[in-house]
Amino acid sequence: MTQPNRIEGGQVDRSKEVKFTFNGKNMRGYAGDTLASALLANGQRLVGRSFKYHRPRGILTCGSEEPNALVQLRSGAHQEPNTRATVTELFDGLTATSQNHRGSLEHDLMAVTDLLAPFLSAGFYYKTFMWPKAFWEKLYEPMIRKSAGLGSLSMQDDPDSYDKGFLHCDLLVIGAGPAGLSAALAAGRSGARVILADEDFTPGGRLNAETLEIDGMGGADWAAQALAELAAMDNVRVMTRTTVYGAYDHGIYGALERCTDHLASSDGKPRQILWRIYSKRAVLAAGSTERPIAFGNNDRPGIMLAGAVRAYVNRFGVTPGQQVAVFTNNDDGWRTAADLAAKGVEVTNIIDTRDAPAVCDVPGARHIRNAAVMDTVGRKGLKSVTLTSGQVIPADCLAVSGGWNPNVHLTCHQRGRPEWRDDISAFVPGRDLPVGMAVAGAANGAMTLAAALTEGRDVANAQIKDLGFTASRKTAPKAEDEPRDCAPMWHVGESKNRAWVDQQNDVTVKDIKQSYREGFRSVEHLKRYTTLGMATDQGKTANIPALAIMAECTGKSIPETGTTIFRPPYTPIPLGALGGRARGKDFRPYRLTPSHDWASKNGATFVEVGNWLRAQWYARPGEQGWRDSVDREVVMTRNSVGICDVTTLGKIDIQGKDAADFLNVVYANAFGKLPVGKVRYGLMLREDGICYDDGTTARMGENHFVMTTTTANAVLVFRRMEFVRQCLCPDMDVHLISTTDGWAQFAVAGPNARNLLRKVVDEDHDISNEAFPFMACGEVTVCGGTPARLFRISFSGELAYEIAVPARYGNAMIEVLMKAGEEFDAVPYGTEALGVMRIEKGHAAGNELNGQTTALNLGLGGMVSAKKDCIGKTLAQRPEMNRDDAIRLVGFRPVDRSLKLIAGSHFINQDEEAVMANDQGWMTSVAYSPSLGHSIGLGFIKSGHERMGEIVRAVSPIHDTEMDVEIVSAHFIDPEGERLRA
């Protein structure tokens, strides 16, 4: 098929024919077309069905404000719904389908909804479908969702990749229309670093759509020349296909660059990039958007905005109709008539709401003054329009102009409120702009070309002067000020039929009036009640007309009635772009322990601990499940020796003459007198007296300590200590640096731990019990001179050490330890066995240090030193935290030893009802103890330390379980600590 509506001229490249399909129909266009211009060229006026009433809809605009022409692009996993045909760049092989119809686009079975319109007015879903209550979720909502709605997702993973990035500039120019180009040229010539971003693939803005001249040449040619000059400047970056969608704090802007949307394939490169642009100053030159006039049946395919109609003619060489009528309340509508007539398109009538003489001469067109369109005919495409006088005018295209609204959106992103300007009957940016932003051109109400060019230059110059640049003296480009008189008319009161205001969400003039009648006086309420402006176009063509109609209802002026403000994003941003690279295994970075390679070759199952991957257990052939592996690891460790990678614990190097005093501040217990070569367990409190973190700290030298923290709190503790150092104790000579990743650290635990280490630690270091007793530490060498640190500490309760070597030797170290341990049947153990052994030993961990428990609760009340002050000490003395019946950490075992304890169970006294008021405490940690042969638990219970041997009930309403448990010492294994001192 040829392109029946293709005419001469335009910027499309006629040497590059492009094939595409719409609803399976083969069509042709040219490089430089949008999908919308190509559809119009092929005579396809009907492109979709409306959201609520399934009304046939066509193309209203030629830009990102389009409410109607939403299509589904591509197929299979690449399918993308709700894309605007008006900004979709045509490429060879593009497949597009229409949305929101059952059956074909031409014969949508859901069109019956339109007949039900009287029942579906504003807020219908708040009023109907309310009964029976249970039907809403199961029946009504799914039904409504199915019939309303837009395109559909592929339900497959998005095969494209996305990226993010960061850019910096002195001046960000948003929009490359006349004002933006003029601004970028001025700033670029001064030497400032400029980013010029434009959403179109051909920058120039309205210059591409108009026949206006600049500096004696066609506007589009001037734009191309300006871009060439900018492209040649090293200090200027021109970004096309890039929408600046949000203005954020401190001059930061969000922008979406569509890199490959105009190509058949992304070829392995990111499809879109979400940029964060750091600007020192910005010029918003976003232009303006034409507004429609509401009248009966104003949504038929073929009824378009006048500026869009001439854009299709001038830029794309496509006429939207063969018999065009113009309906306008302003001078600009006449430009459409004139441009079309100049291209040989038949313009039959110019219907002007004003009783005023012709703005210009339009050959062949009849000028009808003081008139308006009140209704139209043509179910799937416009056939005729009916004027208020009753006159019927045949037309297949009606170009409507209700005036132009400055695109103030980004000026509102930090709650700035636009202000009304009577002379142009539109809102312009208010005074409260985002920091560093200035507005120029039509976006600022400079609605004519000459004004926009001058303002772009002047505003940019003022912005860069602020930054210390010398503005170039070059004058602004020369152009005429075109006529722009406008007599606002928002809707045609005589219209009897439904007149659409928000075409995307199917909101009519009547809906707005009804919402007012029902008491919604605030614009924000109107919006939410009618859903006006809440579709993907965010009401770009609907908000101001709606506000004006609301103002009519209230009898107030528009500015008195209010305005809605805008939030990011300016146009929809795909979730894929917001996600960027963060998907699948790249969702976040991962940290590997130094023995990770060895562990993965030796049966380890890994568990995520923060960003770390830690070995959870090491399965051996024949083991039936994790419990088999964990039980074996515990038993073999307790019987001989086990090895566990504990590198993930935070390590902080602390040096300085006041290091010991500093530790006395951050730890509840005293460190001042800890001898060199010794380790001490330390407990940290929060300011409010609740326990924060625990760990061991070793004194490596008089002024040198090495602290360990829990894995989870490694960064937080470091940050907190820096705060204490810099802000609370600035007079102390103390210095902190993290060494967590620098050392591969292994726990070697079990009765044979020393025997094993003797084979690894170089002989000149005496690690006998006498020379290196429990809680000793020191620098040693291993394997013939490699520097290492040895700590005699025990989490398992066994004779145990932790040995640290530089991280690069970590993988080799576990191999050496395993090799050296062969004669002792050494096993590696994971975090599960580690957990079992610490529960057996009664050591607190994250479940007990849960941010709600005190030292007293943990049975560590005696650790809070009375002799010195520390963070949290004062507030830890509050009476409520020191009640006689405070919860205490104790052990629990099931009375029936065959039962499995459940963590999270709450304790209830024997003779009391299981209700909150009788809550005695809760079970924090449970494990099967292979050493004891039954389930054991740790938990907090009121006055637990005085209730040894008492039987209470452990109740879990979630699991619907209840069992009798006995309160016992938390130290299930070796309560006297003989093993760890052996």
Binding site: H735, S738, W743, P787, R808
Partner: protein
């Protein structure tokens, strides 16, 4: 001879790749020692550093090469600096401590970090995708050093040449960091 020996395996050892307009490599034998200036002893520490390296400790955010060009002094904050040089084994802290003669505190940072050198005319373009800082030639001049975040990972970035940068990030997440930088190079190729 000891019964056992330890084999060194830094996470990115030997990595060295060339892409169109960018080279990316893990510098071999990178040694890092942190230096803390004692409170009240800053002048003595700075003198000791000058004497040891033949170069004055620069201002925070700057780095300089030692007189012999073999070490780079990076000032991280008023009281903290790194000295970065080449040494085969992670036992360098005592050497630096000896050169400073007790006038500053030192901590071995060698294995805490993993290093990547990125260089070439497209290095900045690649880094644009992960580096939030302005590293344009006029803003981030040679020798400049800054701490930042790339793909959630803490990074110390130092400009070491016209279009060359040394990136230091935590060694435990070295593979994720390499992946982040490689992806940036791929995405901008």
């Amino acid at each position: 001879m000891p019964e056992f020996t330890l084999i060194s395996a830094p996470p990115l050892a030997g990595y060295d790749q060339s892409f169109d307009g960018v080279t990316l490599s893990a510098p071999a034998d990178l040694a890092i020692v942190s230096i803390a200036l004692p409170l009240g002893g800053e002048a003595a520490a700075e003198n000791a550093i000058s004497a040891a390296y033949g170069a004055a400790l620069p201002a925070p955010g700057k780095s300089v090469l030692s007189k012999d060009g073999k070490a780079r002094l990076v000032r991280l904050s008023p009281d903290a600096a790194f000295v970065i040089f080449t040494h085969a084994t992670p036992d360098v802290e005592p050497h630096v401590a000896a050169r400073l003669k007790g006038d500053a505190y030192t901590t071995d940072q060698t294995d805490v970090w993993t290093g990547l050198e990125i260089a070439g005319p497209r290095a900045r373009t690649a880094l644009e995708r992960i580096c939030p800082l302005d590293i344009s030639p006029q803003t981030f001049v040679e020798g400049d050093a800054a701490r930042t975040i790339m793909e959630h990972l803490g990074v110390l970035i130092i400009r070491t040449g016209d279009d060359g940068f040394l990136l230091l990030s935590a060694s435990s997440s070295a593979k994720s960091f390499l992946h982040a930088v490689e992806t940036s190079i791929h995405n901008t190729a």
